[in-house]
Symmetry: C2
Amino acid sequence: MSNRSAEITAAYAAATPGLGAGHALEAKLIGPAAYAARLSAARDAVNDAGLDAVLLGFGADMRYLTGYAAPALERLTMLVIPANGAPTLIVPRLEAGMAGDAPAMRGGHVACVTFGETDDPFALVATAVKAGGRPGSAARGVAVSDRLWSTFLIRIEAALRTHGSITQTQLASHVIGKLRMVKSAEEAALLRGAGRAVDTVVMAITSGKLLGRTENDVAREVRERLNGAGHEVSSFAIVGSGPNSASPHHEASSRVIDAGDAIVLDIGGVFGGYGSDTTRSIWVTGLNGEVPPTDDYLRRYEVLKRSHQAAMDHVRPGVSCESVDAAARAVIDAAGEGARFFHRTGHGIGLEEHEDPYIVAGNTTKLVPGHAFSIEPGIYVEGVNGARIEDIVLCGDSAVDALNHTKRDLYVVAG
Amino acid sequence: MSNRSAEITAAYAAATPGLGAGHALEAKLIGPAAYAARLSAARDAVNDAGLDAVLLGFGADMRYLTGYAAPALERLTMLVIPANGAPTLIVPRLEAGMAGDAPAMRGGHVACVTFGETDDPFALVATAVKAGGRPGSAARGVAVSDRLWSTFLIRIEAALRTHGSITQTQLASHVIGKLRMVKSAEEAALLRGAGRAVDTVVMAITSGKLLGRTENDVAREVRERLNGAGHEVSSFAIVGSGPNSASPHHEASSRVIDAGDAIVLDIGGVFGGYGSDTTRSIWVTGLNGEVPPTDDYLRRYEVLKRSHQAAMDHVRPGVSCESVDAAARAVIDAAGEGARFFHRTGHGIGLEEHEDPYIVAGNTTKLVPGHAFSIEPGIYVEGVNGARIEDIVLCGDSAVDALNHTKRDLYVVAG
């Protein structure tokens, strides 16, 4: 084990998933040097793509490259990474202090340019693009972060037209996505911490009271427990009971959990910047076991478990994302339940809850060690109930590396 | 008082700001008929603007027009409101159940078109635009929601080019914004409920322990209390202590609150869909009063209070947004502190935390009854400390109608 690996393992082991654990682990693992290296790789990618610059708004790309989690508000905050020269952060005057405190700015790797409430930040973007564009050639175009709001994109395009000649805009995921998709050992440790933390919440909820509570009340408990277990954000708490368990993205409602309900519990948050996301399925029998799981439900659950396992077994470097999806789907199809599994098998995860690589038909991306994604087949009978099993996994050196460790069986509980 | 006003008042009075109160009040106040009327007004606005359609992604516009709070994820969900014919919601197959349950869909005012994981939703958008475009004239263009992600906009524009001739894209705030900006009596009641709920949190925090706690720990308590007081989302909890109070958008950190600290407490969330947002300033003297507020700080705080009051006194129908900003600024400028008030005086609030109308120089929009916005001057001394006072207000029939009622004096606390 290298010194760095030993350091990461020790930091991970020391981090109890309690209050603030995610942020603390992040601060230990990812320092200014990491951001400098990422920024340098991003500039290389800009040049490889033949672009003048990438323009990144608040969100995951900016956080990945600078450590700055800018507020998602109507004032522009924009990281400009030009083909030549140093990156610039264009930032509202009233957020200059916060931005300057972030690692890449503190480390001197990014210069800040501030603007006041009645200034035009879009002209500043156009100026930065022009200053750092490709020398000795016509302007080629820019890439913008995938989640940049249209209110910014439309005004940036107008400013670029006014100030220069750039007319082509593409999505930055084609440029930056490949950097973010493969997780470093440090990022893997944060995802592992996120998995360990969310598992404690699954254990608490599945061993606590459910019968007679509303979905909303269970969801509230989930959110509090996610925070207590070190998540800085509790992003979602899907508690789908009875017929609601057949609606994959149902969140939570005022429905009261009753005996004979199946429950899909799909929860996650942000832990040191990185997402957790796991799903377990529950059956509530009533206090005297009066409504046990139906034979149909149990039969479908066994199919689902084999589907999940088949996808897990299939993961290794060199196999395609779509073949992992196919492995999960084949089991459910063979059981005649294919029409009831109507979503992809999984999504990548990292600084975003859903990101590349997607585990879906048509995605021929080949897995490499460090790819992080969910495996989450589901079977849903509309109006009746449904079930899903979800783990976050890393593609390891030779096999899958699961980050969730609660049991994958159906949780049959009395009350 | 009309029957409807009496009904709203009674529903508001009956709603104790406890767990789930926001959602319950929303369900009581805003029914399918309201959405039908809003959709009809939106179609009129599309025609008035000479557009073929507005295209609204997840977010406030969609929620305003349909009651559907779609998940903010990478699958497209899009409400197409064409110049002619009925609106269509294009929605992922796995979210069809949720979407169909929302008021406007349940009421039959919007038809749902679903798509599977490997289908092309952008072609569906282009088809819907073409089907409902303006008859007997060339295509005119579309407007998209301001916060639509670039990953959607770029692919929608490509699909529109492929399927038709629309090349002009503008922002939907120019079309839908004027509908959302003036709050109905029902929306005003929800904002009032949000204000009442957040006030209980301010009272709890300012009368509880602060000395020796981290900003993060106080922020955690704020978030829990916001949820306990009926907010479905606790959006932000700015706890800026000591020098951090001089950074207006500082959130919270591991800094431990000490005697002699000023604290800016700026908190808010979502209550029945509508935002709360209030700021109060605190001074922590230490348990034996050992570090009272400095004379400089007290002097600046008095200026700030007069500035806030001047803006409040200025609000009435017919005055411009920029003149409210000027009223706040004049007091601070006259005291020689103008350079330390470097942000606008306020922002609109409703289904979004920040929306039109903005209270800022250059905004000549004239206030009308039902405009809802913040008044929040601040004075910041970099590296030392700062203070801000913020209320959400409605423009009433003849004067300001404040929605926050905690005292606006400096909260001087021992520990």
